[in-house]
Amino acid sequence: MAYDKFTALKSTAVPLPIENVDTDQIIPARFLKATTREGFGDNLFRDWRYNGDDTPKADFVLNNSIYSGKILVGGKNFGSGSSREHAAWAIYDYGFRCVVSSFFADIFKNNSMNIGILPVQVSDAFLHKIFSAIEADPNAELEVSLPDQTITILATGESESFDINGYKKHNLVNGFDDIDYLQAMREEILAFAQKSRY
């Protein structure tokens, strides 16, 4: 059991309308030196968020108190680059439970689901609507329902459904992880591995 269950989430959102947000931006390599997974939220988007002298950059969204919430909305191709799960840890540790984008890099998507963050992939048009809604009102709320696989902009009632495979959905809803599943099929794996070439 690795994380909290995820069913529905209603929250304001933090907009980051930048394409190709790579994991080196989410958490720069020099902060990967920890041997536990806590505390990465402090360095989330470190170089976009702070100047060289550690003073906050006023124009970065995480430093703007009118935006807050448990949902991060990013531009297309979110999470590309390095496989570092630390990127997902940093997002989780900061307090986000859901990331919305019109496209996710594969490894980031896997990593997120493995620690209980829900990646919600929407169409470009819907992503646009979300950004517009937040721009119009920073307190605009989004509602994400995992059982129904829908995301709704509450102010306008507009909604879109998203994909997730049945297995991962089951895991997230119940707070199970893959290792629980694999432990349960240990004998089957052992038998298979004995016959394998390498």
Binding site: R84, N165, D178, R197
Partner: protein, 468 residues
């Protein structure tokens, strides 16, 4: 059952599926698992918390590379956090009976360099590591890809991971290549065409005469960068070049086992009529030495071209201006002649012996430019020894370079090898993201030849003008 034509990818994948979960991923057996000091400590912590042991310690190999210094490796590591990660790796591998090539071990080096070098990587294997450039091993006809720390824990605990089967892409490059054009240029060219996200969701097979005539080093460079266009990984069918590379390496099979393995390896290719979800064809003649001008590896161009304008590009328009601003470049200007400050040759992309041979071929008889700081970092101790044996070391020293000790170094700049803010670095590594090589650093990705030309002229130079 009539045998349907299948791809190389299908053959390897299907042979490893332990269980196919309905409406879910496949449970997939991993043959070799590489670990290093940065992405493994939390995985071992997870095992401890679950009270689970490592299922097959003999299928996992550990090396220290990401965080290690490239000078004075015989001294205690200065950075206390790095030292702690290295110690954790040592203790965890000792406790679980995993072989560990730590700092100072003659086999130590970058994980994707030492695996193939020691014959651990063999055709048809499934290989994972908590590093996205694990795709390197695809050069041997392996399904190899990077994983996150939860998955590292998963593989330690169960020797399996859970993956939906990706879609299949084939990239064919045929035709003659010009002199001065290397494997790195081929892959930078492909990424510039497909964009940094163009292969997301796919596993790539590279085929065609250009790859067939490439050395294993070159093939590793190509497969290494598959991830930079978003692909899960890339692979090349094994052939005689592959087999002769493997033969005689420490962990390679011998005697009867070799014959048996060879017979199997020869079956590892895509059947003639097998189909892919998507295919691309390129002509090797079109490719010139490449260089990147922006902040993702898809932002590459032929070295004699002009930087495109936002109108010319399809993907990433929104970030284009931001990217050029970060780099301090403008639309429609040439890259040739731009002054540079640093040169880094190394990494798992271009840190093998062939890369240093190429570098030396241009450096020989010339001098390092005064305005350039150069970091020459071999991918492993074995490569380092070869550099000395082949006389490359003398050429480097003569030209005013120094040779560092192996490690990831400025590829990700976790150790002290950081490019200062706003400085330009021509780098043979794989990523030019903002701050990848140090906060504010500006990276130009290129081949070892282009790096050498920059190192001796102090500016971006077409290496073809320096080749005899």
């Amino acid at each position: 059952m009539s045998s349907k034509p299948t791809t190389l990818f299908d053959k390897v994948w299907d042979a490893h599926v332990v269980r196919d979960i309905q409406d879910g991923p496949d449970v997939f057996l991993i043959d070799r698992h590489f670990i290093h000091e940065v992405t493994s400590p939390v995985a071992f912590l997870g095992l401890k918390n679950r009270n689970v042991s490592v299922m097959f310690p003999e299928r996992t190999f550990a090396t220290a590379d990401h965080n290690t210094p490239t000078i004075n490796q015989h001294l205690p590591v200065q950075d206390p956090l790095s030292a702690k990660q290295l110690k954790a790796l040592e203790e965890n591998t000792f406790k679980h009976g995993i072989s560990h090539w730590g700092l100072g071990n003659p086999k130590n080096g970058i994980v994707h360099v030492v695996g193939p070098e020691n014959g651990i990587t063999l055709p048809g294997m499934t290989i994972v590591c908590g590093d996205s450039h694990t795709s390197t091993h695809g050069a041997f006809g392996c399904i190899a890809f990077g994983i996150g720390t939860s998955e590292v824990e998963m593989v330690l605990a169960s020797q399996c991971i859970m993956q939906p089967k990706p879609k299949k892409m084939r990239i064919n490059v045929n035709g003659e290549m010009h002199k001065g054009v290397t494997a790195k240029d081929v892959v930078l060219y492909i990424i510039s065409k497909l964009t940094a996200a163009g292969a997301t969701g796919y596993f790539v097979e590279y085929a065609g005469s250009v790859f067939e005539s490439m050395s294993m080093e070159g093939r590793m460079t190509v497969c290494n960068m598959s991830i930079e266009m978003g692909a899960r990984g890339g692979m090349i069918a094994p052939d005689e070049t592959t087999f002769s590379y493997i033969k005689g390496r420490e962990k390679a099979p011998t005697g009867e086992a070799w014959d048996d393995a060879l017979a199997y390896w020869k079956t590892l290719k895509t059947d003639e009529d097998a189909s892919f979800d998507i295919e691309y064809n390129y002509d090797g003649v079109e490719i010139e030495p490449m260089i990147t001008y922006g902040t993702n590896p898809g932002m590459g161009m032929g070295i004699t071209e002009l930087i495109p304008s936002a109108e010319d590009i399809d993907a990433g328009k929104a970030s284009f201006a931001k990217s050029l601003q970060y780099m301090g470049f403008h639309e429609k200007e040439p890259m040739l002649g731009k002054k540079i400050d640093y040169v880094f040759i190394g990494s798992c992309t271009n840190g093998r012996i062939e890369d240093f041979r190429a570098f030396a071929s241009i450096v020989k008889g010339r001098k390092k430019a005064d305005n350039v700081t150069a970091w020459v970092v071999p991918g492993s101790h074995v490569v380092e020894a070869q550099i000395r044996e082949e006389g490359i070391y003398d050429i480097l020293i003569e030209a005013g370079f120094e040779l560092r000790q192996p490690g990831c170094s400025a590829c990700l700049a976790m150790n002290d090898d950081k490019i200062p803010a706003e400085k330009y670095a021509v780098s043979t590594s794989n990523r030019n993201f903002e701050g990848r090589q140090g906060p504010g650093a500006r990276t130009l990705l290129a081949s070892p030849l282009v790096a050498a030309a920059a190192a001796v002229t102090g500016q971006v130079t077409d290496p073809r003008t320096l080749i005899a």
